[in-house]
């Protein structure tokens, strides 16, 4: 359970070991250029998209499309979007899918991970094989489509929520973490008469906050990002999640539907609205991710890569 292997203890300044030769300026320069380019390749598009979404018609016309240097802030694109219409509805549906889906998937995964963490329990080997096999064999597309539609889930949010409600990878990560908890802790709780449910909620879960946060992020992101399942299972366009709407505006070339805007009001430029939809799709991920990112190594690697 050495969680600190990537982080140096605080206070000790990292120092080049004495036997290592001093760095060559060429090597250092190449490294700096490479890493700056990489960081820029992520931050620059985000910047351009954010700035364009907040630009006025004049700024966009002057720049010829996308805006790199901001001139003033114009929130009319966002106002138009939030006045109602397809994007607002899609954001609600995606939020609903993400919240319900993540809660359900985390519950199912944590329960299964705990249930599979004790090697001497009844049916352990069979159950473990049962849960791990889908890791090697994916559910095939066509029969999966027939099963979901046959259950009558088409055009409901459950078609997006239920099929991915347990991911074997996440199960393996959580289970790995549970098995790393010193068995004395769990055993003593059980000797004191705590049931398995109680041991899980009062002993194990408080220790597993980091791994739960990371796996929760994985689930939340995958529910927020759901696109293909929506293409398969959602035909009604008033049930579209946000990624389907984003695709229809940016990739399929449909004009943004801004039916909620007051008739006769001057419409904000299409470019700004498109980019505002991108910003609204990215925003939840960028907002949540930095808080959970520091747990990645601690939470995931210990669970997933033992040995």
């Amino acid at each position: 359970m050495t969680a600190t292997f990537l982080r140096k203890p605080p206070g000790t300044r990292p120092r080049r070991p004495p036997w290592e030769e001093p760095p060559s300026p060429l090597g250092q320069g190449a490294k700096a250029v490479l890493l700056s380019l990489l960081v820029l390749s992520v931050l620059f598009p985000l910047w351009v998209i954010l700035v364009t979404s907040l630009s006025s018609r004049e700024t966009i016309a002057a720049a010829g499309g996308l805006v790199v240097v901001p001139r003033g802030i114009d929130t009319s694109a966002y106002e138009t979007i939030f006045a109602g219409g397809a994007v607002t509805r899609a954001l609600w549906i995606s939020t609903l899918v993400t919240v319900i889906g993540t809660t359900l998937a985390l519950t199912v995964t944590v329960l299964a991970a705990y249930g599979l963490s004790r090697p001497r329990s009844l049916g352990y080997r069979w159950l473990l094989a049962y849960f791990l096999l889908p890791f090697l064999i994916y559910p095939p597309l066509v029969p999966k489509y027939l099963v979901v539609t046959g259950l009558g889930l088409k055009d409901t949010i459950w078609a997006l929520i239920l099929p991915p409600a347990i991911s074997v990878f996440n199960l393996v990560v959580v289970r790995g973490f549970f098995q790393g908890i010193p068995s004395e802790l769990v055993d003593s709780a059980r000797i004191d008469g705590a049931s398995d449910f109680r041991t899980l909620t009062q002993i194990v879960l408080p220790l597993a906050r980091a791994v739960i946060a990371v796996v929760g992020l994985f689930y939340a992101v995958s529910y927020w990002n759901v696109w293909f399942d929506a293409l398969l299972f959602i035909d009604r366009n008033d049930m579209y999640p946000i990624q389907r709407v984003l695709q229809s505006y940016l990739l399929a070339g449909q004009a943004p539907n801004t039916s909620g805007a007051a008739v006769g009001a001057t419409m904000p430029p299409t470019e700004a609205i498109k980019m505002a939809v991108v910003v609204l799709t990215v925003a939840p991920i960028v907002a949540v991710y930095p808080f959970i990112q520091r747990h990645f190594v601690k939470g995931v690697l210990i669970g997933a890569i033992k040995g």
Binding site: P14, G65, L141, L217, V278
Partner: protein, 334 residues
């Protein structure tokens, strides 16, 4: 990785040293049930979800041997019961279909291309990141480069359209400079480079995590001893760092080979209309278009089953090769 750990555990139950140890006293089923019923109850929800959404579809693969007609019954199960069995008919049609082989070749070409131009990049980036002394700087760079991994493919492609598309920033700048803008998003000839660039942008940072963890487990004394013996920077990289990463590299290669016939389904489906079928049709999009999009379910299921069977063979074969080379692979029969 954990498959191995699991099989090792499962194996240890059976092997008793020397075979003289007394058989472990088995409690009667009822006692074990009373002791473990809560664990079983915990497993139940996941069990049901996998049963319905993984195992049932896997069994449903049998429609690949049918002339499945969704309209003969009131629901898919009824339609399944009433459809005619035609044996390997769908497969015969499939193997005679030039469009299928075209998708197959495209898939393999893209896998091979990405194996060369994508696979090594996270390793290199991890080595560079690991060499940074300032943990703060490294943390910042990691935060930024991991981020695109969490973007959906719709977003990633949208970003590329915004930057490199016909109305994108690059075309805009080139027009201003009086040049003929190129539109890489709709050019079938460079499509393979485009999809690889997208994949790299999305996942090169994320891919370093595993390698960074492996790098931090390499014994620092090895480097010191090598330096004392006069090995330079590059020799240490070659003789210490890369061998230290070897098990992880082999593991990921096996997994990649097992997935050789899957190359980012959503990514290709999203860009299929922009560049056309010729360049962008891969096996997964083929399955989708020839089943759900056109209603020919049995045919699509046959293509999907073929792909799954080849994939399983590939991963077992790659694992076998890894064993012969003395690596541990994804699972071992220990």
């Amino acid at each position: 990785m954990t498959v191995r750990e699991v099989t090792a555990e499962a194996g240890s139950d059976q092997t008793r040293p020397g075979g003289v140890a007394p058989r472990r006293r088995r409690l009667p089923l009822r006692t074990r049930l009373r002791r473990d019923w809560q664990l079983l109850a915990m497993v139940a929800p996941g069990f049901v979800i996998l049963l319905i959404f993984s195992y049932l579809p896997i069994l449903g693969n049998v429609i690949a041997f049918q002339d499945y007609n969704p309209y003969v019954g009131s629901n898919p199960l009824d339609a399944f019961v009433q459809s005619n069995w035609i044996g390997f008919g769908q497969f015969q049609l499939l193997f005679a279909d030039p469009a299928f082989w075209h998708a197959f070749r495209n898939t393999l070409a893209i896998t091979a291309f990405q194996l060369v131009f994508f696979f090594p990049l996270p390793i290199l980036l991890a080595i560079v990141l690991h060499s940074l002394l300032s943990s703060r700087l490294r943390g910042f760079i990691q935060t930024v480069v991991y981020l695109p991994h969490f973007f959906s493919w719709v977003l990633v492609v949208s970003f590329f359209v915004a930057m490199f598309g016909g109305a994108g920033l690059l075309a805009q700048t080139m027009r201003e400079a009086g040049m003929e803008p190129w539109n890489v998003m709709t050019n079938p000839d460079t499509f393979i480079i485009l999809v690889t660039a997208e994949a790299v942008w999305k996942d090169v940072g994320w891919g370093t995590i595993v390698f960074l963890a492996a790098l931090s487990t390499i014994d620092q004394n090895l480097y010191e001893a090598a330096a004392a013996d006069g090995a330079g920077r590059w020799r240490r990289l070659w003789h210490i760092t890369l061998p230290g990463l070897r098990p992880v590299i082999v593991l990921l290669l096996i997994l990649r080979l097992g997935d050789a016939l899957s190359v980012g389904f959503e990514q290709f489906l999203l860009q299929r209309d922009a560049v056309g079928r010729q360049a962008s049709e891969v096996l997964d999009t083929f399955v989708y278009h020839f089943s759900i999009a056109t209603g020919n379910y049995g045919y699509g299921a046959a293509a999907g089953l073929f792909k799954a069977a080849v994939g399983l063979c590939l991963i077992l074969a790659a694992n076998k090769v890894a064993h012969m080379l003395g690596e541990r692979g994804i699972y071992s029969r220990s």
